[in-house]
Every structure is written in C-alpha cells, then in structure tokens.
Amino acid sequence: MSKLKLATVWLDGCSGCHMSFLDMDERLLELAELVDVVYSPVVDAKEFPDEVDIALVEGAVASVDDEKKIKKVRAHSKMLIAMGDCAVAGNVPSMRNPFGPQPILDRAYIENASLQQQIPCVVVPKLLKVVRPIHEYVKVDVFLPGCPPSADTFHTALTALLTGGPLDISELTRFGA
C-alpha cells in the first residue's frame, strides 16, 4: 500500500497544536510508516500540493491570507481535519471579535511600540473584520477540539482515521481540553 499524503497547515493559532502533534514523540515513527508529510510548517515545502489525503488545519481564519489558504487546502484535500479550538471554534484569536481588528492593531503597533509606530500595510496580510472557525468557510470532515488536543488525542484519532477504526471524538477531547 502506498503511503497517504498528510499535510498540516498553520493559520491564526499559536502553533501549540503543532507542538502537541510533535509530542506524539516515538509514535511519530509509527505514523511515518503510514503517511508522508508533504506539506507542513515543519517540512520544507513552499506550495500546498495538488493532491493531499489528509489535511490537519490549526488556527482560525483571521486574515485575507488565511481565507485564501483554507480554500486552497479544501480544494486539494480529501479529508480536512480542524485541529484544536482555534480552527474548531475561533478560540483566543476570536476574542477580538467584539471590538474589531483596529484596536488590536493600535495596541500592538502604536501603543506598545517604542520605535517606528506604524501599522504595517504591505506584506502583512490584512486582518478580516471577524475571526471565524474554519467550518464557516469550508466543509470540515473531522473536528478535534482542545487547546491543544493532547498527543494521545492526536494519536488515537489519527490511528482511527488512517486504519478506518471507530472514533468517538467526545470521548477523547472537548473544548478547552
């Protein structure tokens, strides 16, 4: 059997889900027997491949760039997994929603900056007015809540998904876990 193609994507999140994923430690070797990691912040691929079997997405959709990415990821992935509370529910990035992006930008680049107080307008993608979970943009096949989901959760869920075994997410994890 040829290996499945796995991608991991990092939108507006703290990278904690990726850290927790790496926390699977030696079990990553088992996983590497079953999948090839074709795109991820931890591998050196610049473009999202045309055909991916499983895409794990960390983070909420907070910028125009995130929106573009999530649509591309969906278009080229057979299975899309929302990884962690930011992707699943907006979580911490969405805490700015009641106020909008401007106060956040002012706080970061004007109030707290001692030098060159200016809000970036080139290269850095424009923030969306509202931070949303990824399923408000694209169809999500599996939701893995948790902040972050534990390494055990990743291991159990991925093993079930790769081998076609039964999977009860609520037994494994919850919002804020």
Binding site: A82, D85, V88, A89, G90, N91, V92, S94, M95, N97, P98, F99, V130, R132, P133, H135, E136, V140, F143, L144, P145, C147, I169, S170, R174, F175, G176
Partner: protein, 237 residues
Amino acid sequence: MSDPVEVKTLIIDEQEVSALRGQTILEVARENDIDIPTLCHLEGLSDVGACRLCLVEIKGSNKLLPACVATVYEGMEVRTNTERLKKHRRMILEMLFAERNHICAVCVSNGHCELQAMGQEQGLTHIRLPYRNPKLTLDASHERFTADHNRCILCMRCVRVCAEIEGAHVWDVMGRGINSVVITDLNDEWGKSTCTRCGKCVQVCPTGALFDKSKIGSDHPKYPDFLPNLKMMREAQ
C-alpha cells in the same frame, strides 16, 4: 376540586415508576436513576425551566415539556432520550455557545464548567451556528468576586440562590430575550450593591461567569453541594 390520590403511576422510558402527587418528572426520573440532562436546575433551589435542556416527550402531546417544572399525572408516558430530543439538546447547547463569548481555554472554570461538560456529554465537537460575538461587560468592582457576562448562560441560579437562600435578592435580570443580562440591584456595580458578600452565587454558577478573584488559571471548582444540606438544616429547625 383537589386530587385525592396521593400516589401516581407513570412510565418513563418504558420503565414503570411511582411518584407522589406534585412531584416533577425530573424528580421522579432521578429517583429511578433515569438521567435527564439539566443546566439551570440545582438541588435546593426552585425550578424555572430556563435552559430547556430537560425537555421530554409526553405521549399524546405535541409539545415538549421541561421535566424540571412539569408535574406527573396518572398514566403519563414520558420519553427522555429520543433522537428528536437529542437533536434539540445539541441545538440548545450550540445556541448557548454561539450566543456569548465562551472561550474555554482562557476561562477560570475550564475543566470545572457544567456547560463545557454538558457539551462533551452530548457529543458536541463544534458549533454549527455562526458565533454572535456580542460586546459584553465584565464587572470587577466587587472586592472578592467578578462577573463576566461573556460566560453567562442566564440559568438564573445566582438570582434564585440570592433571593431564596441568602434572602438578599441582589441579583436579578434586566432586558428581554437575547438582550437579557443578570444585574446586581438596579444595574449598579456589584461592588457598590447591597451584596452581603456570602459568595453563594459564585458557588452555584455553572460556568465561569461568576468567579472568585482569589482563583487563578483554571483552578476554580465550584461547590454547590452545600445547598441541599443548608436547606435540610433549616427545615429541621
């Protein structure tokens, strides 16, 4: 004319049970180890049917009834766990999560929250409704406690415990429908209200909406179990 028969027999989930006249469906179900999920109900307080999680089906009626306030009658046939009810319960929970800003990861009640636990119990993995992201206030004017309205589910436990048990009735509800908020006195700051500082409201709050300032991180279990004991001691006096 009052009903002279004291004992009623009814069926809950195909199980024959007996009850006393005036008992609620929820009371009878729990006496018989039949689980009906609840959020606003709390042993020791009156029931208001605010959360709607305990809705049950009654044979012969199209209406779903809240088990916490609906009383039993002879020959009643109750179903507590049909697919239709499960669907409604999930939707109710999703509406609660979408209505305000519940960010479990940064909540003092993370791991001790009844809403969070109920979400997990009912198999919620995400919220299908768009989040409303309302702009809500946080009242930290009290020297011991904080009220974060982002996390309130309007269960009214604080209102009831303050009025019924503490006898102070500092908490009440302002506004209607989705704009409702719990307030202290006539919407005064909690710290400047007639609060007796007893902390009962904090202990009965199912979420992190009311919390003790001395607690940090998510180290804030609540202990509402004092209520039935307190009530029992008072009745014995």
